[in-house]
Subunit: 390 residues, 2 copies
Amino acid sequence: MLSSLRSAIGAPPAEGFAAARRHLDRLTKPPGSLGRLEEIAARLAVLRGGAPRVERPVIFVFAADHGVVAEGVSAYPQIVTAQMVENFLRGGAAVNVLARQAGARVVVADFGVANPIAGSPELHACPIAPGTANMTRGPAMTRAQAVRAIETGARLAEHALDAGADLLATGEMGIGNTTAASAITAAITGALPERVTGRGTGVDDAAVARKVDVVGRALAVNAPDARDGLDVLAKVGGFEIAGLVGVTLAGAARRVPVALDGFIAGAAALVAVTLAPDARHALFASHRSAEPGHTVILEHLGLTPYLDLALRLGEGTGAALFIHLARAAALVWNEMATFESAGVSQSEGASDRRAPPSGAPSEAGGSAPERERTPSDRVAPAKPARERRT
Amino acid sequence: MLSSLRSAIGAPPAEGFAAARRHLDRLTKPPGSLGRLEEIAARLAVLRGGAPRVERPVIFVFAADHGVVAEGVSAYPQIVTAQMVENFLRGGAAVNVLARQAGARVVVADFGVANPIAGSPELHACPIAPGTANMTRGPAMTRAQAVRAIETGARLAEHALDAGADLLATGEMGIGNTTAASAITAAITGALPERVTGRGTGVDDAAVARKVDVVGRALAVNAPDARDGLDVLAKVGGFEIAGLVGVTLAGAARRVPVALDGFIAGAAALVAVTLAPDARHALFASHRSAEPGHTVILEHLGLTPYLDLALRLGEGTGAALFIHLARAAALVWNEMATFESAGVSQSEGASDRRAPPSGAPSEAGGSAPERERTPSDRVAPAKPARERRT
């Protein structure tokens, strides 16, 4: 299954961006004036090969434990992974609140939590093992376990896609998993451990130094192969991270946008792109986490984040906030009046005289100055102004 | 009315921030891990003096024309102001789309549009005059007109507040109004015209140079008094900007958050804070506009924007996007489970070992390490997890 997923992932047609720009420049606003919202709209349209749609987003919150906590890398005891899964199932965690607001479904899955979780029909129980092994002593998991976790994540994503999901978001919970994410990031990008290791949920300076040392030892003991994402994942990853690799690949294979949350979800994306480079076209960096390693990941992936709110919680919370922006971009594309339909005069110059927004990827910027119109390109008339109640 | 508004505006009690931090640190997340979302929640709670609420946001889109367009400062003809007002009334503009998404009501008002607008029961017709005078030849308006426009804006805001509005957002439309905003910004902050003048809706380099010259001449001819917001507003402002000054003051006087859109709304806030310095406690900088003068305004007001999407459209579009963040902050405050209610273990250390997020204003950061609990502080149990449909 993993190899068929990998071979299904390709780049969207490059000419799609020019058509997307033509559509966006026809809407009643100066060309490019909605900045990065237009970039999102264009990327969504090109990925989908048609009008973007964000109506049924799904947030995957995968949980697992990490043997490396024995090295004293977290401010919280391991039992918190199980307790927070129960909190997710009761709807009381931050991601539940933000998902409800965003109209997103939350899929909670146990990929290998060490402590027992109170039974719930809402829980997808797919544990690979009760936590990974301590990666400072040897590989965190076997290669077969890594593949199984990826395929399980992909299968959960495919079920959601078959049920109509049109945006997948990646979230996680796992005490100790920022240490695994740091090790993955160092292994794949070549950055030094001290550059990609931060405070996680809030450890002190001594513990950060300990985490840096732990990451260095894990890399020395395991010598992961940077070009082989599976090798990196098995040796210094985590089960929940592997599951999110599967979600990321499944979304990319079906040309459905994947909204990445923060550092740990970013590490999963890093592995996914190592396995299938064209997966990056489906990836949206929801936000820039306060974790320093996240910026290293985003640079490596060539993604500029859309939100920068100093979040460092994980769970999918940043991705949940991004859903509002993705939906806004889709609604602008679909619901705004055109200059023609609204009878609004255009700019007195002929073409767009503005450079594209600095953060836009090159293929999404560079507003085409074209102005021709064809009836088939015209959008539906704007909906009635139901928001004005008086 | 203006003087009673000004005297009604005071600073919220400083001790409110410690209580807000205590509440936020009790929720099931590492202290401060929701970054600037927690800053928004704390500021909303302190302003309101209780649990924040963003259920009935209202976006004010005020339109007017500017005599200074005779100097060739815009890429669009003046008729576009009237055409776009008609687009707002039909619900086809970007702000309509984004307001519908955010569940916000849009109040469209004519504060002095030069061309006729097709009649609509949705339009608040309160024109001061058919456009301002050309500010390079003398004052844009009289002091009496400025006061009248402010009071009209305040009255529209008060009607909305009386009907239950719990967040006011400021938006505008007016061909030529970035030139007025640049002049206001230069006059009040002392920045040079070239530092606060940009491309507006998309003029070329020659037109930017012309705008800089126009702003310089307007300031030289009128010599506005930087300490007198009314003088600045009358001499180099606009009717729609004056109306937004009224909205800003009315929100601050009633301790209701005012979400500022971009550069022009920011210029209105600058005038409002000159008239009533404590109004700044009610102000939320929705986003950082691509207009260079906006950054100068935000620095002067001591506000760090929450979104940075290179928007340069105006209308209230950035404020509409910010509503999602403000609502997210309020929902986190109200709906998340506490460590106690969810039975989740806390950090193994005693206190928060993280510095506050760098962008937070000093009074909102500095997480108090207190951990005591009183029943009256406890939030309601989390709502059922209605987002999980399978």
